[in-house]
């Protein structure tokens, strides 16, 4: 029952002359009772709809909407449909990473460009069983790709030096990744004032020792440090689509409108386990935003998620792609994107601010499909 609804109910009861004796109080949940334990096995189906209406268009208007392309043991795409008044509407794919967008091109003079994309997908929780080693196999060439640098994630210089310092004395890939995960938690922090999900310029983060950021910064730094010690790792760019089933408001979408719920996670490839889920940025988010206080890492609320996000995550999130350095097809304005997670648009005046859905404008809604 919603708190407000409950209070209304309380008011009704008071009309029955009970109010004089009903104590006014609020229920609490102790931090040590909070459980965060995502486990695979239950698939959930969602539908996400992105509607872009480019305000005050000039010249030819172009829109790119991310289409989910990740299919794995935790996510299955179930198809996309789109509509709008664009002259051209078709999916286009990035060559290197396979990231996909719905490309919509509107004729000059189209006063109210609108395009809407709806994607369905299934998703489930992830949790690695560390007691069960598997003979993880993957294409060596593909794994090599996930150790390579990107424009914003170099793997040499200060990144390499830092990664080597962190993993000094560690011999196995699990030990090295564990050390980097712990270092990320100890040194970075969630900075709510960062726009969007951050930039992900990890070299600058290390050089300036400014470790405040969001998932696009913190998980990128994690991925870069892991890659720098030769272990395959990748960022996965997506969006939260539902509240956390474990009651963590910081780890879920707050409402059906998810226009600002973008979130990126990470994976590392471990020899005995394959691709393993990781999300140190969300540990920091719980510490900074779960309560009105900035919690320390040893706080029970943070401790409850810290080990679970090393090897798992909750299936209340849609993965779009794993792409970096994305050149939008047919774009005439702006440069490459560090990653593709937000709707994009350009008019004759330039590229729209993808982090400002209200002025762009776009809305993203998500709903769970039941039955």
């Amino acid at each position: 029952m919603h708190r407000r609804a409950f209070l209304k109910t309380s008011t009704a009861v008071s009309a029955l002359a009970v109010a004089a004796t009903l104590p006014r109080l609020v229920a609490i949940v102790r931090a040590d009772e909070k459980v965060f334990d995502p486990r695979p096995g239950t698939w959930r189906t969602f539908e996400i709809t992105t509607r872009a209406e480019v305000l005050q268009p000039t010249g030819v208007t172009r829109v790119w909407l991310p289409i989910p392309v990740v299919n794995s043991e935790y996510q299955r795409t179930l198809g996309d449909r789109w509509s709008g008044n664009a002259k051209i509407m078709r999916p286009m794919t990035d060559g290197k990473y396979g990231a996909s967008t719905l490309y919509a091109e509107f004729a000059e003079g189209e006063a109210a460009p609108v395009v809407e994309l709806t994607s369905r997908f299934r998703t489930q929780n992830r949790a690695i069983d560390w007691s069960k080693k598997v003979a993880a196999t993957a294409d060596p060439a593909e794994l090599r790709m996930w150790t390579q640098p990107t424009d914003l994630i170099p793997t040499d210089g200060i990144v390499k030096v830092t990664a080597d310092e962190i993993t000094q004395g560690k011999t196995t890939d699990v030990e090295k990744v564990t050390a980097i995960y712990d270092w990320i938690l100890a040194n970075t922090y969630r900075e709510p004032n960062v726009r969007g999900c951050g930039v992900g310029d990890i070299k600058t983060m290390l050089e300036t020792r400014n470790f405040g950021g969001k998932c696009g910064d913190i998980n990128a730094l994690f991925v870069g440090l892991v890659r720098a010690v030769g272990i395959p790792a990748r960022d996965i760019y997506g969006i939260r689509v539902a509240p956390s089933a474990f009651g963590y408001k910081a780890l879920g979408a707050g409402s059906a409108n998810v226009s600002k719920a973008q979130h990126c996670r990470a994976e590392v490839f471990l020899r005995d386990y394959g691709w393993v889920a990781m999300d140190p940025a969300d540990v920091g988010k719980v510490a900074r935003e779960e309560t009105s206080e900035w919690l320390k890492l040893d706080h029970p609320l943070v401790q409850a998620v810290r080990p679970k996000l090393f090897g798992g995550w909750e299936g209340n999130w849609l993965a779009f792609n794993t792409a970096h350095d994305v050149a939008l097809p047919n774009a005439t304005k702006g440069g490459k994107l560090g990653f593709l997670m937000y709707p994009q648009a350009e008019t004759a005046e330039g590229r729209r601010d993808s982090l400002d859905p209200d002025s762009f404008k776009y809305t993203i809604t998500a709903r769970e499909i039941t039955g």
Partner: protein, 178 residues
């Protein structure tokens, strides 16, 4: 169906108030029921917390004095009036062997200090960052208060907001002072 923590929380909350209403309804027609629920469990383990100056302060062990232990939070809207009422209670029992200890529910010293200052609270306020006292006293709602006698034994609990400046409060505590 899997119940989330939030579900459980609100289910417990609704159940609690339903229980209160169940007890309250039949008596309401005759007389106001007492809000002082007799303590029937074993005494909780001893807990010492820091006050706002960082001084270790026992939550309930003040032998020779009756203690009102009250759990609260700055975000608990029902706690505010109660704080002010407890100030009045302290004034009404001035000079008597009586103490109030307000246990904050896991908030930062800065926030608590500002709040306490704004209300000019003049009794001990202790911080419970790890919820040690919350666990020891099995606190489930805020505010909740416990009256501990001069021998250190919990005697009553009071769930929810209560007018501690009331005659009933003064009478109940005064009886323990004898």
């Amino acid at each position: 169906m899997t119940l989330t923590t939030e579900h459980r929380r609100w289910t417990a909350f609704v159940a609690l108030v339903a229980v209160c209403a169940t007890f309250a309804l039949p008596r309401a027609a005759h007389t106001e029921p007492t809000r002082f629920l007799p303590w029937t469990d074993a005494p909780p383990p001893s807990v010492v917390l820091n006050d706002l100056a960082g001084r270790p302060t026992p939550v309930a062990e003040y032998r020779g004095r009756v203690v009102l232990v009250s759990f609260w939070a700055t975000w608990c809207e029902f706690c505010r009036e109660q704080m002010l009422a407890m100030k009045q209670l302290r004034q009404r029992l001035a000079g008597r062997p009586f103490e109030i200890v307000a246990v904050n529910f896991g908030e930062s010293p800065t926030r608590v200090r500002e709040y306490v200052k704004s209300l000019s609270v003049d009794f001990p306020v202790v911080l419970d960052p790890n919820q040690d006292a919350v666990k020891a006293w099995r606190v489930r709602v805020l505010p909740v208060s416990f009256v501990v006698d001069a021998d250190g034994r919990p005697r009553y609990s009071v769930l929810g907001e209560f007018d501690w400046a009331s005659d009933e409060a003064v009478k109940t505590i005064t009886e323990l002072l004898r």
